[in-house]
Amino acid sequence: MKPDLTTNLCGIKMSNPVVTASGTSGYGKELSQFYDIGVFGAFTVKSMTIEKREGNPTPRIAECTGGILNSIGIQSQGVRHFIQKDLPLLRQYKVPVIVSIAGLSVDEYPRVATILDQEEGISAIEVNISCPNLEAGGCSFGGDPEISGRIIRAVKSATNLPVIAKLTPNVTDITAIAQSVETCGADAVALINTLGGMAIDIQTRKPKLANIIGGLSGPAIKPIGIKMVWQVYQTVQIPIIGIGGVMTWEDAIEYILAGATAVGVGTALFQDPWVVFDIIEGISEYLEKNGLNRLDDIRGKIKLPETP
């Protein structure tokens, strides 16, 4: 019998634990040309603000060893455009939709959440308090436990949907942020967003990104993500979406062992949009080979060295 990959993430019933990482799959239109996006456990859309945003100047992307730097800067048509143009397509697929929201001010988050709250076909709201590419907001909110908590509390008041806090790794102690958002009502946490980074072309002496700095993603950041998921798993009771450098099913298993309930895939989709099939199949085979039936059998079950 095939192992059971069904996953319950703060009430979202998912067929498997693999979700898209926000900002790496748009609003589903492109990937749905290739395959039924219902293959994902849940589909997290790109972050949106209230109003339309142009995003940052180009170049917005630069490859580094084992990773990529980006400074897209939340190019967005705004939440109303999403509801009118993008959400109808997503509703056609039998996939739980997680809508990521961003804000330039603390007040903007609950305003976006209020607009989304009455819409059909949304399973949860992910609160992006960790974008390194926003001129205001973004990381500066997510780096402060008090402000992070305040935003989550405001969004919780604005919606009855489950609320997921997307956390930044660009902090001294991620567990303090995780604890704060849990206290303020977050139903889950997603971590990690990209790490702040920079690269310089030594021939031209110019930064490789027009925005000068950006966010690092890809396999280079996976060990940091694993560490932070493990730390947060020991700190909070709410479920975790583990994100950061998942390229293969082995990476996904590693996150689940560290304590993740679900696993986000992002940069890997740029390289191979079909990789999600291999990841899901690989997770299933791993469980099967180890004589296990459910993801609960491995979630957080790392074998720590015995203390003397």
Binding site: T24, T58, R60, I61, I68, Q75, F270
Partner: protein, 267 residues
């Protein structure tokens, strides 16, 4: 809705250096040559290099569907293209394609101008091939730094194109930039222009083309993440009626009509 599978495994037929830093990679694959159009591109994965995350996008050059062949020309600029120089006959290349929107080729004979520089010359081979088949008249101008960089001239001549070469240092053909000699050939009755080359060349030729009022399509280069429209790395500003909006070079492009391009590519 019919799903599209862009994944292809192509085998290397040849991978030959054609000038100082450009290589011509000929690939064999059954389906892609039947569907890919001039100006569209493929996104190549660099095999066995876990440090290189992104695929590398290359516009298709000549395509020979009857032999299941297509080719690209690449310039060695970094780790990815350096690794590609190691490709040997029978090696397998993992690629996604066809991607993007190509050049519009009229079905009737026209009088066309083709302007290319560097790697941008290769996609124009495919344009020349299509134009030749409808008996179009072609004038081609290609710009290079010096004689050591010159390639591709013979391909255009084989399609009976009037072909002019410029080199910055005058070591081959006309001395100077394409833009400096363009007006001489523009005197002719040209009604369409196809442009593919480095940004400085595009900037220099666009005012002349605008003044001549010819229908012009330009293939643009951009740093890409995904190549299929999700990452929004490669956007440019494009006119859409009165409005100016961001469009993706990988999806709405890489070929744009000259009059639609806003932003600094323009002048």
């Amino acid at each position: 809705m019919e799903k599209i599978d862009l994944r292809h495994s192509a085998s290397v037929v040849s991978n030959i250096r054609i000038c100082t830093d450009h290589y011509r990679l000929v690939l064999q694959e059954d389906s892609l040559p039947n569907v890919i159009l001039p100006g569209q591109f493929v996104n190549i994965r660099i095999d066995n290099r876990e440090d290189l995350i992104l695929r590398r996008p290359f516009s298709v050059a000549l395509v020979k569907p009857e032999k299941s062949l297509f080719e690209i020309v690449y310039r060695v600029v970094g780790k990815g293209t350096s690794a590609m120089t190691d490709l040997q006959p029978d090696d397998v290349v993992d690629l996604l394609g066809p991607l993007g929107k190509g050049f519009r080729i009229p079905e009737k004979a026209t009088n066309c101008l083709l302007l290319g520089g560097g790697c941008g010359i290769a996609p124009l081979w495919g344009v020349a091939d299509k134009l030749y088949r409808v008996n179009s008249k072609m004038t081609v101008m290609l710009g290079f730094k010096s004689s050591a960089m010159v390639f591709g001239e013979d391909v255009f001549r084989a399609y009976d194109a009037d072909t002019f070469i410029t080199t910055d240092d005058g070591s081959y053909g006309l001395k100077g930039f394409v833009s400096e000699h363009l007006e001489k050939v523009m005197d002719q009755q040209i009604d369409r222009a196809y442009v593919c080359g480095p940004t400085p060349m595009i900037r220099a030729v666009t005012p002349i083309l605008k003044q001549a009022n010819v229908a012009c399509e330009i293939s643009l280069e951009a740093y890409m993440g995904c190549g299929f429209g999700v990452c929004l790395s490669c956007v440019i500003s494009v006119r859409n009626g009165e409005a100016i909006e961001k469009q993706r070079v990988c999806t709405e492009g890489p070929v744009f009509r000259l009059e639609d391009i806003a932003e600094d590519h323009e002048t």
